[in-house]
Symmetry: C2
Subunit: 564 residues, 2 copies
Amino acid sequence: MASKDSNKRVLIVGGVAGGASCAARYRRLCERCDIVVFDRGPYVSFANCGLPYYVGDVIEEEKALLVATPRLFKDRFRIEVCTETEIRSIDRDKQRILAKSLRSGEERWESYDALVLAPGAGALRPPLPGIDLPGVHVLRTIPDSRRIRAAVEEASSAVVVGGGFIGLEMAENLRRRGLGVSVVEAAPQLMPPLDEEMAAFVSATVRENSIDLHLGAAVESFEQLPGGGVRVATSEGVRLDADLVILAIGVRPETGLARDAGLPIGERGGILVDQDMRTEDPAIWAVGDAVEVRDFVTGAAMLMPLAGPANRQGRIAAGSILGALLGERRKQLKPMAFRGVQGTAVCGLFGLTVAMTGASEKSLLRASVADYGKVYLHPGNHVGYYPGAEPIHMKLLFSKVDGKVLGAQAVGGAGTERRIDVIAMALQMGATVFDLEESELCYAPQFGAAKDPVNIAGMIAANHLRGDLPLADWDRLGEPGITVVDVRTEEEFVRGHIPGSRNVPLEQIRGRLGELPRDGEIWLVCGVGQRAYYATRVLLQNDFKVKNLSGGYVSYQAFMEARH
Amino acid sequence: MASKDSNKRVLIVGGVAGGASCAARYRRLCERCDIVVFDRGPYVSFANCGLPYYVGDVIEEEKALLVATPRLFKDRFRIEVCTETEIRSIDRDKQRILAKSLRSGEERWESYDALVLAPGAGALRPPLPGIDLPGVHVLRTIPDSRRIRAAVEEASSAVVVGGGFIGLEMAENLRRRGLGVSVVEAAPQLMPPLDEEMAAFVSATVRENSIDLHLGAAVESFEQLPGGGVRVATSEGVRLDADLVILAIGVRPETGLARDAGLPIGERGGILVDQDMRTEDPAIWAVGDAVEVRDFVTGAAMLMPLAGPANRQGRIAAGSILGALLGERRKQLKPMAFRGVQGTAVCGLFGLTVAMTGASEKSLLRASVADYGKVYLHPGNHVGYYPGAEPIHMKLLFSKVDGKVLGAQAVGGAGTERRIDVIAMALQMGATVFDLEESELCYAPQFGAAKDPVNIAGMIAANHLRGDLPLADWDRLGEPGITVVDVRTEEEFVRGHIPGSRNVPLEQIRGRLGELPRDGEIWLVCGVGQRAYYATRVLLQNDFKVKNLSGGYVSYQAFMEARH
């Protein structure tokens, strides 16, 4: 269709999350320009987050994964989509790109007024022996998932290499299909974005669901077995034989086209853009997994291949292009600019929900952020008196200077993602732990508690910052001069306790102050931290040197699990 | 137990949410004072929000409802609890209260340095004929619930008077026990805090679950039936016979003691307090359902009997008392002051979740807040390609001046409360719809969408404020000079549409611009609003006078349900 009063052309390379969002948004902003989307694959705008569940047959029909077809783009948005078309190079001087049809092999130049790079990220495939064996799969596209589905039909065992989100989603879905599954992860923990003591709750659940878990085990080679199948050799000397292997060790931004065109690449290997998602070239924007972003909390450069931020970037790029091509005539109550990435993420795994937002302790340390505090808690997802309550294990990170929320991690039952979403919004708005303390959230017996887990997290941190709750450092546990006092009941203490700790039940502590040492530090511990807090208040007001082991015996067990 | 270096006495009248929180918090802040809690009932700190579920046998054991016993208060907190003790009067001059044991009938004076009134609210019992019949029950206490449970054993039918949260929770639980249930509500809608078109989604579900619903029907009398049971007569002339009647028409703050003592009562009938929860008398504080609070959004005085705010108030009062009695020596990074009530609430009903936070349109109009905007949306609770997605019907209210979030209501499937919680936090922090638009929330296929319902709500409102999406006023539908154009497919249009509307499917609209009127307004409608938005963008850029009917045909049906 000819344009009305302009023949400006907007070309978009890559038609999944960021590219598709940008194209559709740009059309809504501007009816006049021509918009063409190119994609190397046979599909645009497909549900890549759904692929593990298609393999697991939770999603039964492949066509359910097709969020939008080229036909819909044409009919609804007047956007031309060229699938199976690879962009070979960018001629920045002449503002044109060289497109090659993968069907016919033909090449043609397409000129642009604005170019958007949304090439995504490809699966990491390190140069290990046997990595290209037919039994070694990655899962990035619909054809990938089709191949894996076919392989699963014939298979009874699988090795998943990589214990991140996608690796574990694959492990669960392969178990669901009845396969025996081993997971091999080079790091000493699952789900690297989590801190290790929080990941311990995940590995416990993964093991309980009959996954054969190998942590701290790097894969060294793959070998074809004579009868079919693949042998995976790991650095721990273990040999795992399986009918198929899934490689899920992460992704690498597709920056070849940008590099070849001389566009700047950032320190983490992604395309560099400004807050408008514009590259150094004023006619070229870039969005999605290939782009380097800022950590919203620490300001550090990072790669964060998530669909939500990719969509936001696509929208922002569209607005920026409109201003650049046609002049900004739109009312802007708030200028749109990409504010960075919080890294909010969630994963469902064998009924467990794992969610996080903002900084982890690891990412704070990496960015040399000092003066942070942390608290652990294990509240129920709803009141205990209503049937079916499950714990949510939480870690909250905050600034010791002003109480600003820095990040949170949670692993637990239904509603875990809800608490992280609330904290994600708090973090976005610059909220402090004092704001969390007095949040007013939904409460009915089956949905939560009058003091929601978010409130409790805020209260514990606020109590600490007000000086009412000095916290001990779990890493210093076992140092001399410290008396650990467990204030649970005798029955609980007998069932399991920190080695070397003494038992003084909370209900007796006021009458037994004389037994407690006045020279060294007393570290109080209970089941999850609440009773130890009460005891801390008693002892502090009686002039003891006292600290609280945040999260209690449940956190202790997680630290132990993480260390072994 | 004798106090250590002070015999200051803190007396608390009422030992459920606010009173119990205040007592426990005060002990944590101060080991030295004496703390005594008085309650007229046989229990303190019981789970009153759980009572309907105890009646419904979801909670099977009565003892599960006892959150804390007098024994626990004594052993753990060194707090004395006097149950079945009524406070008869306050002698403000001598700082003492007259306590009467309901067991022995004895009266005694108890002196205080600080007095906290937490008497709660009692069930409204208007002086209707027959209101005191033994078959007419209210549900406020554990003994109430015990009586109703006993009555249910013998009953096959019930009438619930009142269609608010507690009335509907009771209706569901009585259905669960196998009773035939009628609900009689004087207002023309269920759940009065909701706007009527949002309440329409609730009444539809209630009817689908075989509840006999009478809206706009005031009860005029109760009459004992000869064979047992009660006849309920309503203003619509209907007579309903049932084995038992539950009265759930709301509560009235228990202000008798405060009134008699000359403490100021507010315009809405609650005890007046300042931001520290202190009354006019510097030695008396008040918390919980009996207190008048400020609407966080409109600033209007209101009563809001909710457990969460009551607990917050109890904590704040404790801190204020500490400062008053012992001088403020604690580190205060942020002074605690009661910031008012957002009215965040949730109710689960026959698998439907109903939640809200902040202002409703009704409460904005009541407070004469002009310049607000509203949008409707009906997104899935998670992506459609993952099995089991259910809609969430949402209404977002915001300031047209600066985009500030004013309130939200949502009715829908799992995760409805999660979106309201995120908006509750946004509202608390003064967030705008532009902040909602770019929130970064948890996404995986089974948990949501890359554009979460919260994002979509923000986007629609932000598009409106940026001038990209003019909105029509549903109340003006049917006025002359307006052409309603439905952009759904022909098949959808045939299945049902707004009378008088014309069908031009979105995919054809660019080619059929010539058919559309240029003189009057065009109002676009589709299923839920998305396609109409796309069409709005096309028509606006082709210089039509165009508006969007927010929420589409689904909202239309809700408005119709609300009006009939």
